[in-house]
Every structure is written in structure tokens, then in C-alpha cells.
């Protein structure tokens, strides 16, 4: 209990809210590397997964890439990225992007495969050309699962970005690593709380985004979503 009040004091201390190691700075750093990684991963992974799912090709590959992704040790990948690219955001973003790609490929592949073939037939019968069918019929139906993949990747990236501090990166992980290195456990705890809050905020806001993107008719069609399968934790 005394410890928790010390943590509260840490949060209340205005010195921790200013400067290059203040909470806002670290938060922005963390969001920046996470956001850039997820965005780059999305640009690569979503078209691949969506197109593979649309054409129904290389299914085994699309499904197994997430097995590969899960097997990557985040600590090792970050250290290798430093050894190749040195310091800065680049190695961190590359490592996080590599971790973010697999769930998005797999989920968007499965999302496209699960579109009811009858609906696709009906669209073709109504005269939709292929691109229009993809964009106006299949994608809207696939949005929930695609968004689930993006959400999985984003939360995983936010959590793993904590480790960037091991290769001198910024972000909220610095509180954990620097705190441990000086044996200041209030700082370690505060860092953990901040990362957990950020991960939850990411999850909630992307869930909100999904609700906004899914057309109302489709949302009514679907049964209440079962709990999303547990995701692999890489940090």
C-alpha cells in the first residue's frame, strides 16, 4: 500500500510530466513507433491477405505465416535489427513491422474466405465487375475480421514497443528499463501501468473504429462476436 502511494506520488510529480523523459514525450515516442509500424505493416499485409483471400490462392502460406510470426523472439529480433541498422527509430520500426504483419495477413485472408459464396454469386449475377465486387461487396463483409487482425497487431506492437528501450529506443519502455537499472521500482511500476493503459486504449479505440466501419446491416446480421481467440504475447 505504501508502495502504491509512492507510485501515485510519482505520477503526481510535475517533473515527470516535462522534458525529454517526461510522460508526454515518452507517450508520443511510443505512439509514433507503434503507429508507424502498424501502418507500414498494414500497407504490406492487408493487400496481400485480402487478395490472397479473394482469389483463394496460397491459403496454406497465408495461414501459416502467422505461425512464423508467433515464433519470432522479439528480444532477438530487436537486437539483430540494431546490429544491422544501428540506433534510432528505423531498427525498432522494422522489427515491430515484422511482428505486426503476420496476424494481419492471416486474419484478412480468413476474412475474405469467409464471405458467403452465395453473396459473391449474387453480386456477379447483378453485374458487379470484379474490382467493384471486391470493394463494394466483399470488403465490407470482411471488415470485422480484418479489423480484428489490425487490432491484434496493434495491441501486440504497443506491448512489444516496450522492448525498444533495450536498443536505446524511446517510448514507455524506458521507464521500465531505466527504473530497473537504478532499482527505482516506482518507475518500473508506473511504466508498466502506462503501457497496459495504452494497450487497452488501443484495443478499445480500434474496436470503436470497427463498429464505425461495419455497415449497420451487417452488424445486425452477425451474432454477438464470441471472445476473440487469445493472441500471442511477444513482450
Amino acid at each position: 500500500m505504501a508502495f502504491l502511494s509512492k507510485v501515485a506520488a510519482w505520477f503526481a510529480d510535475p517533473a515527470n510530466w516535462t522534458g525529454s523523459s517526461g510522460i508526454p514525450t515518452r507517450l508520443v515516442e511510443h505512439l509514433q513507433i507503434s503507429g508507424e509500424s502498424v501502418a507500414i505493416a498494414g500497407v504490406i499485409a492487408l493487400p496481400i491477405g485480402i487478395l490472397l483471400g479473394h482469389y483463394g490462392r496460397f491459403g496454406a502460406l497465408a495461414l501459416n505465416v502467422s505461425n512464423v510470426g508467433r515464433a519470432l523472439p522479439s528480444f532477438g529480433i530487436l537486437v539483430i535489427a540494431f546490429q544491422i541498422f544501428g540506433l534510432g527509430d528505423l531498427p525498432v520500426i522494422l522489427a515491430l513491422t515484422a511482428l505486426a504483419i503476420p496476424p494481419m495477413v492471416t486474419n484478412s485472408y480468413v476474412a475474405m474466405r469467409e464471405v458467403d459464396p452465395d453473396i459473391k454469386e449474387a453480386a456477379k449475377g447483378m453485374g458487379y465487375r470484379e474490382l467493384a465486387q471486391l470493394l463494394q461487396v466483399e470488403l465490407p463483409l470482411a471488415v470485422p475480421l480484418v479489423m480484428a487482425g489490425i487490432r491484434t497487431s496493434a495491441v501486440q506492437v504497443v506491448a512489444t514497443a516496450t522492448l525498444a528501450a533495450i536498443i536505446a529506443g524511446g517510448g514507455l519502455g524506458r521507464y521500465i528499463i531505466d527504473g530497473y537499472g537504478q532499482q527505482i521500482y516506482t518507475e518500473v511500476f508506473a511504466g508498466a501501468v502506462l503501457v497496459a493503459l495504452l494497450a487497452l486504449a488501443t484495443e478499445v479505440s480500434l474496436a470503436g473504429l470497427e463498429r464505425a466501419l461495419v455497415p449497420r446491416g451487417i452488424r445486425l446480421l452477425r451474432a454477438p462476436t464470441a471472445h476473440r481467440a487469445t493472441t500471442v504475447k511477444s513482450a
Binding site: F82, G86, L87, G88, I167, A168, R174, Q182
Partner: protein
């Protein structure tokens, strides 16, 4: 059977084989002289020193467990106090200022510094042995280009430019008397910023090279500074003190026999030897335990 099932069986067989191999572990039987756990700091010289002193004990008949790359003193000292490790190889002045909470008692006299250190250690049931003549102090390095640009050869030359410089080191540097606080009080240097990197590791070197920092903490016994184009600034106001290599043990394992062996190593070790071993590990990527084994053989252990 289909290929999927076949590959599943193959995977299971491999897994079982690995697991069975894993179960057949060989653990060294404890010898009559007992077991000592030696802890090492998370920089390559830490492994060298831990292996050096630990293997000397091994060759004398002790069973030695090595726990290398544990972290900095803030992490290793509690492990020693709680008995998780029995010994680590420290540096007299820095250890004194650690255990006396930065009271400023360390001097350039290794014997006096170690005696003061022992006065603080005894209540913790720890003891520091006889310090070696081997020294490794904190040192502050800039790139050759920076040194040329600002005509830097000693630390007091920094007073003009410190406000433009970022200092990089491990997290403990912010509170260690021979690091940032010392630079501020002894030299009056106030840096633009402090960047937390690693303790004398590749992150600090990469940051110096990339210009992310302009001055970084290294060790005076590092062997790779020349080849990296790094220049150490001279400590003209003598901020650094007697950082002589000295083993620190729990009194429970500090038998006369163990102390004799360890003091023997300290007596024969020189700074040049340490730098040479560092060169083999840092530049040639030889194993710390291999280079220390050679040294011990050559010096009659």
C-alpha cells in the same frame, strides 16, 4: 499416411529427442571445498574478471557457478547481499561510493579506499579483499572529429561546449559520483541532455558514431577505443579515484584458502593484462573463459 501426419510425427520425435537430451543434464558434483557462485556485470570486462577469479577458485578445487551478465552494481549488489551470489569482482572506489551512498570517502589510495569500503561492508557480512594494482576507471570519450573540432584533450576543455553536448551512459551514471554528478561538481559541466544507453557497450559506441551523443562513458581499460576512432579526455582535475580491481565476497565463503587464491590473482594481474584480455574478447570475439584460462595457466594457477 499423409504428409501432414508424417511431419507431425517427425516433429514429435524431434521434440522428444531434444527433451530426452535435455533431461540427461550433467551437473558437476560438489567438491570438498564447496560451491561458490560468482556474479558478473553486464559488460565484457565483467565476464572476463568473473571468469578469471572464478576459474582460479575452480583450479584450486572449488565448485564454481557462474552467473554472468546480470546487470549493473545496482542489480548485482543486492544479489550479493541476499546470498544469491557469493562474490563479484568490483572496483574499490566505485564500490566504496556505492556502499556509503555517495559520501565522498574514496581517494586515490587503493589500500585506504578498500579499508574504508570494508568498514561499510562488515555490517552486511561482506568483505573486500586486497585490491589489485589493476585499475579500471570511468573514462569519457568523444570521437576524434569532435576532439579536433573543439580542441578537446582534457575534461576541463569541455566547459565551453558542454551545454551543446549530450552525454550518453548507462542509467546508473545519473547518480554515480564518478559519473554525471561528479562531472557537474568537479568540472562544472552542465550538459544539454543525458541519453540512457548501456554501460560501456555497443549502444554507447554506436551513439558516439552516429552523433546521437557527443560524449560517452567508456572504461579506461577498454581495448577497442583506438580502432573505433574514439578519444578519451584526460581527467585533469582527478575526478576519478582508486578504482582498483578488488573481489568482494560474502564472509561465509571467505575462507583463508579462498582468500589466498583470490589475492594471488589480484597480485599477479596487471592493467596491461586486463586490457590484453579485453582486446581478445572485444575485438577478436574470443571467449572470456578461454582467454582467462590461458592467463591462469601462464601464471601458475
Amino acid at each position: 499416411m499423409n504428409w501432414k501426419l508424417r511431419s507431425a510425427y517427425l516433429a514429435v520425435s524431434i521434440a522428444l529427442a531434444v527433451a530426452i537430451g535435455a533431461c540427461g543434464s550433467t551437473s558437476t558434483p560438489a567438491t570438498a571445498k564447496g560451491t561458490i557462485t560468482v556474479g558478473g556485470f553486464a559488460f565484457s570486462e565483467g565476464s572476463v574478471l568473473a571468469e578469471l577469479y572464478g576459474q582460479a577458485l575452480q583450479r584450486d578445487g572449488y565448485t564454481v557457478n557462474f552467473k554472468l551478465n546480470l546487470g549493473n552494481r545496482e542489480v548485482v549488489a543486492p544479489a550479493l547481499k541476499s546470498g544469491q551470489i557469493d562474490m563479484y569482482v568490483g572496483y574499490a572506489a566505485t564500490d566504496l561510493e556505492f556502499y556509503n551512498n555517495g559520501a565522498g570517502e574514496a581517494t586515490g589510495d587503493a589500500v585506504a579506499t578498500t579499508a574504508k569500503l570494508n568498514s561499510h561492508l562488515s555490517s552486511l557480512n561482506l568483505v573486500a579483499l586486497t585490491p589489485s594494482n589493476t585499475v579500471d576507471q570511468n573514462a569519457f570519450a568523444v570521437t576524434k572529429a569532435t576532439a579536433d573540432k573543439y580542441s578537446l584533450s582534457k575534461l576541463s576543455d569541455l566547459s565551453a561546449v558542454a551545454s551543446q553536448f549530450v552525454l550518453g551512459a548507462g542509467p546508473e551514471c545519473k547518480t554515480r559520483p564518478f559519473c554525471l554528478p561528479g562531472l557537474e561538481s568537479t568540472y562544472g559541466l552542465h550538459f544539454k541532455d543525458f541519453k540512457t544507453l548501456d554501460t560501456d557497450g555497443p549502444l554507447t559506441r554506436a551513439a558516439l558514431k552516429s552523433g546521437a551523443i557527443q560524449i560517452g562513458l567508456v572504461f579506461s581499460s577498454d581495448a577497442d577505443l583506438n580502432s573505433l576512432g574514439l578519444v578519451v579526455l584526460q581527467d585533469d582535475k582527478h575526478l576519478e579515484a582508486a578504482d582498483n580491481v578488488v573481489p568482494i565476497l560474502r564472509t561465509a565463503v571467505a575462507t583463508d584458502d579462498a582468500k589466498t587464491v583470490l589475492n594471488n590473482v589480484s597480485a599477479k594481474l596487471t592493467t596491461a593484462d586486463l586490457v590484453q584480455m579485453n582486446a581478445q574478447v572485444e575485438l577478436l570475439h574470443q571467449d572470456a573463459d578461454a582467454v582467462t584460462k590461458v592467463w591462469l595457466q601462464q601464471h601458475g594457477f
